[in-house]
Symmetry: C2
Subunit: 492 residues, 2 copies
């Protein structure tokens, strides 16, 4: 279901490509915006002075509630404001002396609204649907050729991934030492003009974020990162703040946006911890929808217990610390980077598909969410983790299998001190993953008096084998192989 941007503007020329099937409206017509869609209103501003320096807000009212959102200058004399309504019914808006109304209609199928934290350690869409993040990583995919970016979207469409980590700024790093097509700031030769943004850069980003939304994929937008060549990692604080306000003004209305304050924040040597805290606050203040906010580390973890952090975005393969981190942070634990399936000569990019599949299972049964990435050497340096393109690995289909299992399951919680790792809904559903353990048999301790169907699951072969009906202390013969799972579902 495509993300629609409903535009109230006579200035729509040149914007039609923004989100595929944008429904353009005349301001005097009865305007309809679906719930968690985007309403956009535009006006013309003087191009004298620096229009990026102009601050204008729009007010959106429904009954007694008024939401104020910051507008943004979109170039060519056009100033805009966007809004994502969360409540059906009539809304009124005011913007730069103009005003009008629209009707928020029910969401269309496939639009579940934005994701928020639910029940401490899990996530859910605004419409009540559960959201189990199974993310991947293509840091620089929106800085590639049109053809490659479209190939990435096509790959994502056939993949199990419903979240993608992606950088706003272009990236300069191994396998990616190339100039982007577009730059976020004005640019004269190799000089940045930090007083103005390049709206084309952001329009392009929005097109891609909108396409992700249409595919049901959350865009975990990385706002800062250290892999820099253009000065974006070392902007002066006032430029960082303008940038954050501009990005939030433009993108917050996209229901599938998550804010990732940084990738490897501790490698960005130009910002202090106080800076990061302040940048969090800016995003928190400016975002009318309170999209999810995280920050990803390299070696030094940010304190995810800070109240403005919604979930712990972690780089680690120490899954055994999940319980400790759940307790410390009281938030969902997302292993956004647990190393990547691939074969590059980097410790973080050379694990096997089997190892990646194992990590997804282990993290999952311990009560975390695990993220994917892929780094296979390529003659043209097109590695999924950076540029996107196609997936060559063998873990994605196993992740699809696990995602299906988790989505069919009820809400699960890890069992404390389980002898073998287990995530469960007490009395109803138990999912064990035995990791490298491979006992010939094991007596599972199920509640007495309830009947369960037992199943052996081979996570690599993606096979589920019935193992009979059991109750109480149930001895189950196992496959004798490592990396196997066992599932018990209440049958009566």
């Amino acid at each position: 279901m495509p993300l629609r941007i409903t535009r109230r503007s006579a200035l729509a020329a040149g914007l039609a490509g923004l989100a595929g099937r944008a429904a353009e409206q005349d301001s005097r017509a009865a305007t309809a915006v679906e719930r968690w869609g985007i309403f956009e209103t535009s006006l013309r501003v003087a191009e004298t002075g620096n229009p990026f320096g102009v601050a204008m807000t729009a007010q959106f009212s429904h009954g007694h509630r008024t939401v104020e959102v910051a507008g943004f200058y979109d170039g060519e004399g056009v100033y805009k404001a966007r809004f994502m309504p969360d409540t059906e019914g009539e809304w009124q808006w005011k913007f730069g002396g103009q005003s009008g109304g629209f009707v928020c209609t029910p969401q269309t199928p496939g639009n579940h609204g934005p994701v928020t934290v639910r029940n401490t350690f899990r996530f859910g869409y605004a419409d009540g649907t559960r959201y189990c993040p199974f993310g991947t990583t293509c840091y620089a995919w929106t800085h590639q050729t049109e053809q490659l970016e479209n190939a990435t979207l096509a790959t994502l469409k056939g993949s199990p991934f419903n979240k993608i980590r992606m950088c706003v700024f272009p990236k300069w790093y191994a396998y990616n030492n190339v100039e982007p097509r577009l730059y976020p700031f004005g640019r004269e030769g190799e000089q940045n003009d930090l007083t103005r943004f390049d709206p084309r850069f952001f329009q392009h980003l929005e097109q891609r974020v909108g396409q992700l939304a249409s595919m049901g994929i959350e865009a975990d937008l990385i706002l800062f990162h250290p892999y820099d060549h253009w000065g974006y990692a070392s902007l002066p604080p006032e430029a960082n703040e303008r940038y954050l306000r501009y990005v939030v003004a433009r993108l917050a209305a996209f229901r599938n946006v998550w804010w990732s304050m940084a990738n490897e924040w501790d490698l960005v040597k130009t910002k202090t911890l106080a800076d990061w805290d302040r940048y969090f606050h800016i995003v928190e203040e400016c975002d009318p929808y309170q999209h999810l906010r995280g920050i990803h580390h390299s070696k030094t973890m940010y304190d995810h217990a800070k109240p403005w952090v919604t979930h712990a975005s972690i780089q680690s393969d120490e899954f055994e610390k999940t319980g400790e981190w759940r307790q410390a942070f009281g938030k969902p634990i997302v292993f956004d980077e647990c190393k990547y399936e691939g074969n590059i000569p980097r410790r973080w990019g050379d694990i096997s598909a089997r190892e990646m599949a194992r990590r997804f299972w282990l993290g999952t049964v311990l009560g975390a969410w695990v993220g994917h990435g892929e780094t296979y050497l390529d003659a043209n340096d097109v590695l999924w983790w950076s540029k996107g393109g196609v997936l060559r690995g063998e873990s994605a289909q196993r992740i699809a299998f696990l995602r299906q299992i988790m989505e069919e399951a009820p809400d699960l919680e890890p069992v404390p001190n389980a002898y073998y790792p287990c995530i469960a809904k007490a009395g109803e559903y138990y999912l064990y993953f035995l990791d490298y353990h491979r006992p010939a048999q094991y007596t599972f301790d199920l509640p007495e008096g309830l009947k369960f169907t037992a199943e052996l699951i081979d996570p690599w072969e993606m096979k589920v084998t019935a193992a009979g009906d059991v109750t109480g202390k149930a001895e189950i013969k196992l496959a004798g192989e490592p990396y196997q799972a066992v599932r018990f579902k209440k049958s009566s």
Copy 2:
């Protein structure tokens, strides 16, 4: 080469079985004892009172040096003293009013003397030969039938193992809830008589320790353990002390003895940390040869930095902590238990042969020594880790392969902060193990100006493949599989 016990005694009847081919000597004959062999002298004592309560020492002198050793009552009116000479030439002895002499002759092939720590993190025999411990575990193997014990010895003979962890006391634990053939203390029905030992128990133990010595296997003798049914884990302190003095008096002369103060000391709830320290001191004081002393934990590590501990005997699979522990303790790090190859429904006894082989390699290249154990379910509950018998697993031959590699290598030290784990002799020899990493190629950073032969090693297939001659920054194409090793040897 069998361990010989040279006996000076007219009382040898009944002792012939002690060490196979004991060379029995009359006191008046010219007595010869090989270096690190055993000289034993006996005398008759009154059986009135409790002869176990009698304390008699023997003095052994060579030139200006005199070594005093405690004797022990061996039952049937015979009191003995044993001595392991470490220096060739004439020795004089005095014992209970008797005296005599013997000549210490050169050691025979296969007798390398006792093992001690060498160069902080490694081990060596007294004759200068390097000793690389590749141990296994058969806790209760000397408490089985004659037939099973002999089967264990036959298995050990064909195995790569040159150290075995074994309990003095019998063991009561899962798969081993059986009465032993012999008991260490006097016994009336189910009552212990702690005032006397049963010499047959110790004679039997000595026979087995002697047989191990003949096979070049170190006996890592566990003095206390918590798996108890007879009260041996909760003896009063004075009984523990008598026991320690008796064991040391009897067994210290065996060149292949190591003292393991306990298995899982922290699970023995009847002894305080001060008790353990004191027991260490007793062994340290009584042992004229200063055999290696360690103590093995379950959850709480003993402080291996204490000066009476010679090496850190560790239960863990956190090999990544090896560097930290080397620094903290400044002693050899021995992962005596890193879980066992097997399929029993216990987390510590259900890992695959591949995982066990991986652990040996990983621990080794990180600068530790790793121990083996095997726990396959058996219809008769004969599990190698407890009772011995036969090895059914597939890790032992891979351990043999690794042992051969390590014994052919020069003395190696782990490379600090190596990108992939590496143990090396700088400029001469580099052994990498890439664990789960599997880059398609990697540029190894070898010293410029020296030539090396590169070899790919598959630890599971036990295959070594030549990979050409290289120098300096050497890009090597790798197998693309996890758990591979690479070796560089200086060729000029």
